[in-house]
């Protein structure tokens, strides 16, 4: 069973490695969006530190949402998606593999660049540490929820925007707990509560989203 | 609750704008929904009748 999961994962990672441009676009989008806010709001360090967590989290959310609509799109276009769904292996694993691949390709780079942006927002070192931890837990949630959105909007016109419209309301708890964790550190009240709630939300999403996405895939492919 | 006069009733203790603003919008939404529903049902019937006549002719 896990062989199929690893096979899907390896396939997607090699595909992404060949088209290095894709995940760089999402990365630069993240940097650009985050850098626009100081231009709009002003360079005052105290203010930037206050809005920093929220801005970075929203920018990370939008950056990985950007790439979600293509989660199944390429395979759907050349028909390989249908073969994979019709294969004896459960579709849930296919969706899980795809979401995991999306997280590795688009989620992890956000983590690597986040400290640089954290410095840009005058966040202290411990806050940046918690920011990384919260993003580490938060981004897979988005890849899983995004899997549902991508499966539902497979092949629809305006799929990308529609996907964002469907998924963002579901992502609110993760945003609140994630940004709240960094705020907790800044305010000195500690971030354990937020991070544990974020982790709980991740586990729930892990339990729910792949099955619904698999069902959505079957619905979309009929 | 006895209202001294009708003008007191509309004034609603100084909060007339907010109370009646809320009730007015609620009434408007409900009426709009009912009217749209009735009109929609009528249109559906007429459209289906026309489509049937085309199919049969």
């Amino acid at each position: 069973m896990t062989r199929f999961l690893l096979a899907v994962l390896r396939r997607d990672l090699t595909l992404a490695a060949r088209r290095r441009g894709d995940w760089l676009i999402a990365l630069f989008f993240f940097v650009m969006v985050a850098s626009l806010f100081p231009l709009g709001i002003g360079p005052d360090p105290k203010l930037l530190a206050r809005i920093g967590p929220g801005v970075l989290w929203v920018a990370a959310t939008l950056a990985s949402l950007l790439s979600l609509s293509r989660l199944f799109a390429d395979d759907h276009r050349d028909g390989s998606l249908e073969h994979m769904v019709l294969s004896p292996e459960p579709t849930v694993l296919l969706v899980l593999g795809k979401s995991l691949a999306h997280w590795l390709i688009y989620g992890i780079p956000l983590l690597l660049i986040a400290p640089v942006l954290g410095v840009q927002f005058h966040l202290p070192a411990d806050a940046i540490g918690v920011l990384l931890l919260s993003l580490l837990i938060g981004t897979p949630i988005l890849s899983l929820l995004g899997g549902v959105g991508a499966a539902l909007t497979l092949g629809l016109r305006g799929g990308g925007v529609l996907l964002t419209l469907l998924i963002l309301p579901l992502y609110v708890p993760a945003l609140i707990f994630g940004a709240g964790a960094v705020d907790g550190v800044l305010a000195g009240t500690g971030a354990e509560a937020h991070l544990s709630l974020l982790g709980a939300f991740l586990i729930l999403t892990l339990l729910v989203a792949p099955w619904i996405a698999a069902a959505a895939l079957k619905v979309s492919l009929e | 609750m006895e209202w001294a006069s009708w003008s007191d009733f509309w004034d609603m203790g100084g909060y007339g704008l907010y109370v009646w603003g809320s009730y007015a919008v609620t009434a408007a939404c409900i009426l709009m929904e009912v009217i749209l529903l009735k009109r929609g049902a009528g249109q559906t019937r007429r459209r289906l009748k026309r489509m049937r006549q085309w199919e049969e002719s």
Binding site: L145, V148, L152, T153, L156, R157, G158, G159, L162, L165, L166, L168, P169, L170, V172, P173, I176, F177, G180, D183, L197, F201, L204, V208, A209, I212, A215, A216, V219, S220, E222 | M1, W3, F9, M12, G13, G14, Y15, Y18, V19, G21, S22, Y23, V25, T26, C29, I30, E33, V34, L37, G40, A41, T44, R45, L48, K49, M51, R52
Partner: protein
């Protein structure tokens, strides 16, 4: 009478036709009674004087907004499990009414907040959660609009309602959590006015009125959907002839 008799659109169409007047009339009567109690029986609130009377539509609307979303998820699940077309039609029939109630809850909440909290929009936990609930409704309706194939649209909407319903309690919890943390000094969270029993009864009567109204409207809308989708059947032809 087995489980599926009323699952067939034909029988349900006539059943709904008979039920609508009952629900519509009872909703109308309950509304009149509720409003009478609300304005002519319920006393002035010592804290909010007369402004609290918005509660008689704000709370029922908020309840209905959330309740209808959960009912949609329920019918969606039934439709997915038993493959009954009528359940999907009911999901489609409920969505607009749920969205309208959620909008009414937001509007009346904002208007009620102005005299109490001094601002047209306050990031109060309940208002914010209701706002996100409205986004969920808009998401489902946008999905239906984007999918032309009826069968796929039904199932996709049902799945979205399902994952939405699972998340609604979490969204409400996380927003309340977020609100208590960022308790701004300016926002003094006035809890609902201590409910004199007469106020509560007025509100409950209005809640039932809203519930019966929703049933009547949903049944009426589902009848139109049934006609639309079953137009090639004999019985619809007879109805159209009449």
């Amino acid at each position: 009478m087995n489980l599926y008799t009323y699952a067939s659109p034909a029988t349900f169409y006539h059943l709904a036709g008979r039920l609508i007047p009952w629900f519509a009339w009872s909703a109308g009567i309950l509304t009149l009674v509720g409003l009478y109690i609300g304005f002519f029986v319920a006393p002035t609130d010592f804290q909010q004087s007369e402004a609290y009377r918005v509660i008689f539509i704000h709370v029922p609307a908020a309840w209905m907004g959330m309740f209808i979303y959960l009912v949609m998820a329920f019918w969606g699940a039934i439709g997915l499990a038993f493959n009954t077309r009528l359940s999907f039609m009911m999901v489609r029939a409920l969505a607009p009414t749920g969205a309208i109630f959620t909008f009414i809850a937001l509007w009346t909440g904002a208007l009620w907040g102005k005299p109490m909290w001094g601002a047209w929009w306050v990031w109060d936990a309940r208002l914010t959660s209701t706002l996100i609930l409205l986004f969920l409704y808009i998401g489902i309706m946008a999905l239906w609009a984007a999918i032309d194939d009826v069968k796929r649209g039904d199932r996709a909407g049902a799945l979205l309602a399902l994952i939405g319903a699972i998340n609604v309690p979490i969204i409400y919890f996380s927003v309340k959590w977020w609100n208590t943390l960022h308790q701004g000094a300016s926002v003094s969270l006035t809890k609902a006015p201590t409910m004199a029993t007469i106020m509560l009864t007025g509100m409950l009567i209005m809640a039932f009125a809203a519930w019966f109204y929703s049933i009547a409207v949903a049944l009426a809308r589902v009848r139109a959907i049934i006609l639309e989708r079953e137009r090639h059947t004999e019985w619809v032809k007879d109805i159209l002839e009449r």
